[in-house]
Symmetry: C2
Subunit: 456 residues, 2 copies
């Protein structure tokens, strides 16, 4: 047993009590009445960092929920890791579905029940506890460490892009340890190495200058609903692949190794279909469901409307109809170029006589892929292998996490997922919980990865 | 000059004043605060009929706006005509767009400005004036006449079907003279001989048991918006015709004569397109615009919706999507059968794995076609020819007028259009008006058609 491990074991009760105290602060970023609590949680963290031995921890004002910044930079010639997390939580309603109140943390059968227990106060506290253990037992850290804890992740981090861009020097690092992460199962480690990008637009078809009575005009005038439906139908081939010319041109093909890594992830197709009520899995031919979700680009119409959509009948032929289109993108696809290809497709396929216009949405995000041989990925893999006794799955996620893209763009640094939440912990829902065992495993894992990064 | 004509001329001032008095009653059926006025207008009509010489005119209670019924049945062996009209009017707002108040009838430059002047108190009063003239000058009417004036047409005649069905004996007749009609132009007579029918349904596509996150699941699950769009696109052929199997099977083909009659109606294709802002006329190949509007069946999607249709972006893959379908039908098409054909088409064309359900809407209406050789049509044609000095256009309308279908079904009698409104009279809009000349023409025309029906 290392000194660090011993320290964590000896201080187990105190560290757990401190964690419960932090969970007791209802730092709900989205609710106006909780803004004082958000600040209290931020101040709690500053004090906690100081107590752990990180001098100079401070609140940085963002004109909204504050950022906590701290640093320990006394390891010359060693890399610098930025530990990222968020201390804000989701609203807790419906309150009556909680077995015990969301901000009165309660331990039952080895589980800590509280809003934010899994998502993700645990991750922050584990990292700080690990730093304390290392500082107390060795007097120093194996690498340079910066802390960046934000307080508005649960409301979409509206100020994060500008904040990171304005504080590049302060946040400069070699890699990010993203404590807002999870494992595959209690005994199954995983490393999130890829995310899809996103781009979106709204499309409007106009076919006349007025809505028309379907009795008086029906049969002799164009119907915007028909035209839009034809356009939407034209976006995909019958086999489910995207029919937009050039859509796949820049897609980095999946390597044999990437496919093998995805195939190694346990996935129950039958359960997947049953859960979602699908009669059959669908999608691009030649790819598995996980490949389709994680590593292939998509085009989905998330919204569609035109004409009369209220109760009953209104016999109208609409002059216009609308669709919201969004694409999930994979490495090497350029969001802006994809939107241009979509524009060209729509213009080429719209019925003669009708006009189609589009509005490109803000917030395009490139796909994100952490190199598997990145030193951070290797270090995380080694720690997980040691702690779980088995290789982690290399997983991806079909969604987008804008903050990771911002870090990469602004700081030039990849984020290594390093968190210990599990999929069953009722994140964003009543009775959210986190396992005591995960908490202790996370503390130790953070010690180990800092040591390993220092040795690399 | 006939005695009748002379009588009308001699009583011109009084009859016009009476008409203006009737127009002054704001009998707006749709507004609760005007229900007393509706009743006042009904009572005015009863007194007016009595004064005209029709004894026993009375209000029939419908538990809503009353029906006025009256009869003169002293012409044995002669046919019976039911004169139909409505004494209720549309709301008059926006009031500030009226040059003179809507219920202070004002004559300017040969036009009577008031709400209800064109639609259609004029038609009722003309018929009653004609009856008065005939009774006063000849002591009798050339045929048996019944009067059926309703007070809820402008709100869709909700009680009419049940009322007519419950009063078949009372309303029994050989033909209906529909005073709620119009001519083509000041010097161009027209006879409305056809209306399209209607049937409608709402269609729902379900592809999963839950909405899904487009990032997490996109590419591996069906999207109800895509499936619905494909279904809607499948409803028409590229040439604009309806692709539903069997849709045209029962359609009575247009005869050469019918097509000639439609072609004789003046129609400016260029103006039609400009008015509606259409780049080009579209529709079933082989038919003119008027044929498409009047005499060919259609299928229009009047409403379409699925997924997120609010402001901004919500990255959802919808589990369901909806469309409102309505068909305009032509003679020999059965509305219920058409809806069944639509059901079969949707079931056959929906993507594998998705479910489509439909709800057939109430209020199906058969297409309506008055035989051109019907005695009433012939009489109306003869009167119009005599009064205008030219043959009337035989026009149709693409919409549906449910009351005519009700009369045909319940009473077995066709409705002969016999009204003198003109298309420019701002019906349902501010500054609605009716021409003094049309009023006097209408009085005389009603005398003439009753005489002609008696001679037939």
């Amino acid at each position: 047993m290392t000194d660090c491990e011993k320290y964590l074991r000896e201080n187990r009760q105190r560290l757990q009590q401190e964690f419960l105290g932090f969970l007791g602060i209802p730092s709900i970023s989205a609710l106006p009445q909780n803004q004082g609590d958000v600040r209290r949680a931020a101040e709690w963290l500053v004090r906690r960092l100081e107590a752990a031995g990180v001098a100079g921890a401070r609140l940085l004002d963002t004109r909204a929920q504050p950022v906590i910044y701290a640093e320990w930079l006394q390891a010359p010639c060693k890399p610098t890791a930025l530990i990222y997390g968020h201390y804000d939580v989701q609203p807790a309603d419906p309150l009556d579905l909680w077995t015990t109140p969301p901000f009165q943390p309660t331990i039952r059968a080895g589980r800590i029940y509280a809003r934010g227990a899994s998502d993700m106060k645990s991750g922050i506290v584990q990292a700080v506890d690990a730093v304390e253990a290392l500082l107390r037992t060795t007097g120093r850290l194996p690498i340079n460490v910066k802390f960046f804890f934000e307080g508005q992740e649960e409301m979409g981090s509206p100020q994060a892009p500008a904040f990171v861009a304005a504080n590049k020097e302060l946040l400069a690092c070699d890699l990010i340890l993203n404590a807002d992460s999870s494992q595959w199962g209690e005994n199954e480690p995983a490393l999130l190495v890829g995310l899809r990008g996103i781009c979106a637009m709204e499309c409007t078809v106009v076919s006349a200058n007025t809505d028309m009575h379907s009795g008086l005009y029906g049969g002799a005038v164009p119907n915007a609903n028909h035209i839009l439906s034809e356009l939407v139908a034209s976006l995909h081939r019958p086999d489910g692949s995207v029919a937009v010319a050039g859509f796949y041109d820049d897609v980095a093909p999946l390597s044999r190794q990437e496919r093998e890594r995805i195939a190694a992830v346990p996935f129950d197709e039958e359960e997947f279909r049953r859960d979602l009520g699908l009669a059959e899995a669908v999608g691009e031919p030649g790819y598995s469901t996980l490949e389709r979700e994680w590593a292939r680009p998509t085009l989905d119409v998330s919204g569609l409307w035109g004409g009369f959509i209220g109760e009953g009948i209104k016999t109208v032929i609409p002059k216009e109809a609308h669709a919201k289109l969004s694409c999930r993108l994979v490495p090497n696809q350029d969001p802006a170029k994809i939107l241009d290809l979509l524009d060209a497709h729509l213009a080429a396929h719209v019925s003669r006589g009708a006009k189609v216009t589009t509005r490109h949405e803000e917030g395009m995000v490139q796909a994100y892929l952490v190199p598997v041989d990145h030193p951070g990925t290797r270090a995380a893999r080694d720690v997980l292998l040691e702690m779980y006794g088995k290789e982690p799955y290399y997983i991806r996620m079909g969604g987008s996490v804008p903050i990771l893209d911002i870090f990469l763009r602004e700081l030039g640094a990849y984020a290594i997922p390093f968190g210990f939440s599990l999929p069953d912990e009722r994140v964003h829902a009543p009775d959210e919980f986190y396992r005591v065992a995960s908490f202790e495993r996370g503390q130790l894992a953070f010690c180990k990865i800092l040591v390993r990064l220092g040795a690399g």
